[in-house]
């Protein structure tokens, strides 16, 4: 049970001591249908409980409509929960919303920029909301513009920039302030791979400096590379929780097999029939299969496939986060 620290009521709390960056308990959010609309209420978040330690990168994963964004919107005080409790650095998101807002920076899923202000003014205006102004902030803005490759466009308005550049402007705000918590809702949307890599590096540095990141993403390799702790949710409920290794254990022997032949294999369907295939993909002469089987069964299938065509390359790996994700969310759907 999340207990109210002495911060309840007036006067406002100074700073409740919380070892956890985020605590969520039995959180639920139901979007009521309008009286005139058809259909039933939508239970976007359903009895969700988790906590996030300070100084880690926490990934909230799930298929479309799983409730990731709603959960994030509750934590960032944009949406009020129907029931349950959520605290950010010990501050209740409902009762001490302003205290929460002073300690967070949010990159929302939608592109968000002041289209009529220059890129530099976007950053300076944002900083002013956090009480930061003056020469130091201007210098910091110049530095942030530089690290995100925005210096040549500093004087331009976001309305004249591409979607990817607007996303950079949005993300640049994260580095303009030192709020202890960063929320990123699918932050890499519209970014090219080189920028994404450098942003991921910058985010790791922020965490090394003591900041905490909570992110949602559909790009599972991103979560695999960044996150210390992962929560997979589906239909508002927890499906699995832990670091990557813990999640791999949960999926019970999922292997990813890549076979490259001299020619494209035929009759693959007949061969894999009878095996538990999580996903399968053929590209040119390469067959990629994720299997949920014992080691001997995996080797048996590999031998059968190798007998069909000359095998040029074979690679067998443990499950990727994508395999785990598919296996777990499928299981949840079936149940």
């Amino acid at each position: 049970m999340l207990r109210n620290r002495p911060c309840g009521g007036k006067p406002r709390p100074r700073c409740p001591v919380s070892e956890m960056a985020i605590q969520v308990e039995n959180l639920a959010k139901v979007f009521r249908r309008k009286r005139w609309a058809s259909g039933s209420d939508i239970r976007a978040v359903d009895d969700l409980s988790f906590s996030v330690r300070r100084g880690e990168i926490f990934g909230l994963l799930g298929p479309n409509g799983a409730g990731k964004t709603t959960t994030l919107r509750i934590l960032t005080t944009l949406v009020r929960p129907t029931s349950g409790a959520a605290r950010v650095l010990g501050y209740d998101v409902m009762r001490h919303a302003l205290d929460v807002r002073t300690r967070i920076v949010v990159v929302i899923q939608e592109q968000a920029a002041e289209l009529l202000l220059s890129v530099r003014d976007n950053l300076l205006t944002f900083a002013r909301f956090h009480g930061l102004a003056g020469p130091d902030v201007r210098r910091r803005a110049d530095h942030v513009l530089d690290i995100l490759g925005l210096t040549p466009d500093a004087g331009r308005k976001p309305q004249d920039l591409s979607g990817g550049f607007r996303r950079r402007v949005q993300l640049a705000k994260v580095f303009m302030v030192d709020t202890p918590i960063i929320f990123l809702d699918e932050f890499s949307t519209g970014m090219d791979p080189i920028l994404k890599r450098s942003v991921m590096e910058l985010l790791r540095k922020e965490v090394a400096n003591g900041r905490t990141i909570v992110l949602t993403t559909q790009v599972l390799t991103e979560a695999e590379e960044l996150c210390d702790d992962i929560l997979i949710i589906d239909r508002g409920k927890q499906v699995a929780r832990g670091d990557l290794n813990t999640l791999k254990l949960l999926t019970e022997q999922v292997y990813e097999v890549a076979l490259t032949f001299d020619r494209a294999p035929d009759n693959v369907d007949a061969l894999v029939d009878g095996y538990h295939v999580v996903r399968r993909q053929i590209a040119q002469n390469t067959l990629l299969i994720a299997l949920q089987e014992s080691e001997s069964r995996v080797l048996e299938l590999v031998s059968a496939l190798a007998a069909r065509r000359r095998l040029l390359r074979l690679e067998i790996n443990g499950a990727s986060l994508e395999d785990i994700f598919i296996a777990l969310t499928r299981k949840e759907t079936a149940s």
Partner: protein, 250 residues
Amino acid sequence: MTALTAIIAREGKIRATNLTFIFWDLFYPLGYLLVFGVGINASLGFATDPGVSYSAFFLAGVLSMASFGIASNTSWSFFLDRDNGIFYEMLTYPMSRPQYLLGKVLFNIGVATVQSAITITLAASLLGVPLRASGWPLLTAAVTIGTAGWFFFYALFALRIRRNDAFNTVTSIFYFIFLFASSMFYPLDPLPRALRVAAYANPITWQVDVIRYATIGMGNATQIALEGVAFLFFTAASFFAAIAALRNQE
């Protein structure tokens, strides 16, 4: 205080990016007074009281119309912010919902005050409208509270209506009803009873009458006081309703 100054600075920067905004903000009521007021005055020779020209009578109307127009335009900016995505991001900034609305309204009160000062000065110097210096405190209060009241009123609709075209329809209807069923363009006494009753129930009549009393001394002091109090209630009710609408943005 940080939040309020940040919002005022933001609004100022956005306006400063566009000269049309600045021109429209500052000179639009004056233009209305010069074109419409002078035209009516010259062609119809309209006068309500002996010695009161239509330009003098209409001055209160254009000042109220300016409050009304600024409020409508600023409320529409919620749609612009929503389309840009910045609206929801701003709701995560370190400010309360009332601060957000107050910051916006304070900036607009500043604009309305400068606009009124320009309009009054040029109305007096170009059109010879006689002004009462003793009425300036009341005039300032009426412009300030008027701008705030109409902004909160419009914000309520801008925040509840999610579609830009629907909001534009609503504002067009409001312009028609509020502006024409009021004492903005003509005195109410000669009007048919139904229209007169509708006009007296219209908050813009309350604001116009107070400003008219402050600028040229026209009207009954008791009635003006009652209308002023009614407008204060209207402003307070609109403020709380707008806050509730802002809190319900999900």
